[in-house]
Symmetry: C2
Subunit: 339 residues, 2 copies
């Protein structure tokens, strides 16, 4: 594959990106910590009885200001949520900014204030940073990398490979608002003007889930690039299980559904930035959903499917029409620079 | 200042960058950990009796391949060296790549292999990563962010604010090769073709320094953007001391000196990526230099000056002509995208 060039699909959370990660990244850097491919690395480094989690994410979203958020809020939420997805309490963030010469200082100020507010909500502190300025035309406005450190209670063992047949699959709310809100802003689509990105830090939501049912949550993952479909497939492959989802039960806002029909898109492939998918012991699933609904980013939480022992490594969708089909991972790039 | 725009000088390690950090970053995010502005944050999180250090850096160097290294090697060295500068043993790295659509996969492969080799030399492991692809023209080829985690032995207390009058100022070798090698490649300068970047991980060098004279090393800092002049000024301000440097004693390679004369540049403002400056208890300075010279990136180590109680917050240069002048921080951008 080294003869080709990078395409947008190498960054879309789908098949080409998986191939790139498997061949180039795991092929060269593979080690037991990296190979888990969870949203955060769990380090062989303990603070007291707590393990330390570490994650990184770069944000290149376009436009940088969008309904419901901006690149700064997104950069904090993305990394905080990745720490939460392995059951860690987020503590410390870094910020690495790459800024284009000529970028307005007032916009930078707005982004920074937005990061500050989101960090306060999420309960994390900025502890280190870096700023690079590149010549005009060498980057598009501003890119932000955030890395984060959190601590995991000794009892937690949450990971992409821990789903078990029988688990309930839960989503924390309506899917796809982030994708459609970015797209509507970028393409000037009128019909979706009231739609806001779901972008939010999930610190309180996840904290309450873990407190309510310690040990019952086996997998958590936020459906960002590649959306719900990509995450469900990652769970199926990593946990060596089948996943079944009822399309009717997946919460989708009317405006998102309308936008998808118009644009020929599927909400299950749209990215979210303030939602999570979880595989939970089925005996505790109703309790977990009840707890999740108490928090604003979890108000529309629902059980949308189940983990099964059949058709391992595949995801089946029971469609609203009564049929069933394989829900595959994305291949083509639908939306570059969505996060 | 929020009326203006970002200029290249906001990223050059000099006065405008300091103002930006003070007003926007510390003004909004200030906390006791961040405010220290050391090369790595020292976290209030311990692993056994060891403290944990955390740092981040984005790399946007142009060209991405240069004599003595490439953007991948640089991204590993930069973050590893920042951990070393607070006395930490580097352990774990993250890598966040932003890649332009159409970037050749074989070049990506070369960069990744270079990162892998440098990590092996430096004794660190990649534990998490992220890849974003942006549309053609939205970034220039590839940018890499690396963040890193290391552990600090309980006895070490190295920081930019710990220089004391009487300390010797040590540099680990000739300065400015990285700057001139990038510049010569970028501008096609013939005279400097044999010059290589000093880019190197300093793990062994720093480990030996600390082992030889535990407690005697008060400050370490690698002179990257803004060069030796910027670092000496940061030490003078943060430690509230004066610094005096003898120009004659500062090691400069002949090719760098020639290039500087031709281009009207001063080696003291040129960036290095495999050198360090240290303030060391003067009674131990000769021992430290002797140890440093045993390692290839430290072969030309030398005492170049001293920390004094006079002219606090200022750096004086005793020039080769016998005079003395203030060595100020850089103001104008000399070299964008040097790291």
């Amino acid at each position: 594959m080294n003869k080709g060039t990078i395409s947008l699909a190498h960054g879309n959370g789908g098949r080409l990106m998986q191939q790139l990660i498997n061949s180039m990244i795991l092929g060269n850097f593979g080690n037991p910590i990296l190979n888990r491919l969870d949203d955060s690395a769990v380090l062989p480094l303990k603070s007291g009885k707590k393990r330390i989690a570490f994650t990184t994410d770069s944000f290149v979203v376009n436009p940088i200001f969008f309904p419901g958020g901006d690149i700064g809020k997104l950069a904090v939420c993305g990394t905080v949520n990745d720490l939460l997805m392995v059951g860690a309490k987020p503590l410390f963030l870094s910020a690495g900014m790459i800024i284009e010469e000529g970028f307005p200082l007032d916009q930078l100020g707005r982004i920074i204030v937005s990061m500050k507010k989101t960090m306060q909500t999420a309960g994390v502190r900025l502890v280190c940073g870096d700023t690079k300025v590149v010549n005009k035309g060498n980057c598009d406005k501003i890119f932000i990398n955030t890395s984060g450190i959190g601590i995991i209670d000794e009892k937690q063992d949450i990971g992409i490979a821990r789903a078990r047949p029988g688990d309930a699959v839960i989503v924390s709310g309506t899917i796809g608002e982030h994708g459609i809100s970015i797209l509507s802003r970028r393409e000037g689509l009128r019909f979706a003007t009231r739609l806001k990105s779901d972008c939010a830090p999930l610190t309180c939501l996840v904290g309450a889930m873990i407190k309510a049912c310690p040990g019952a949550i086996h997998v958590m993952r936020d459906p960002t690039r590649g959306g719900t479909a990509a995450v469900l497939n990652e769970i199926a492959v990593s946990s060596n299980v089948g996943v079944e989802v009822d399309e009717n039960r997946v919460p989708v806002a009317n405006a998102v559904r309308a936008a998808c029909e118009l644009l020929g898109m599927d909400p299950l492939y749209l990215p979210c930035e303030g939602r999570l998918l979880a595989c939970v012991d089925s005996r505790k699933a109703d309790t977990v959903v009840r707890v999740m609904r108490k928090f604003s980013p979890g108000e529309k939480s629902a059980i949308i499917g189940r983990v099964v022992a059949a058709h391992r490594k595949s995801v089946y969708l029971r469609t609203s029409g009564g049929g069933a089909r394989i829900l595959d991972v994305p291949v083509q790039e639908q939306m570059p620079r969505i996060c």
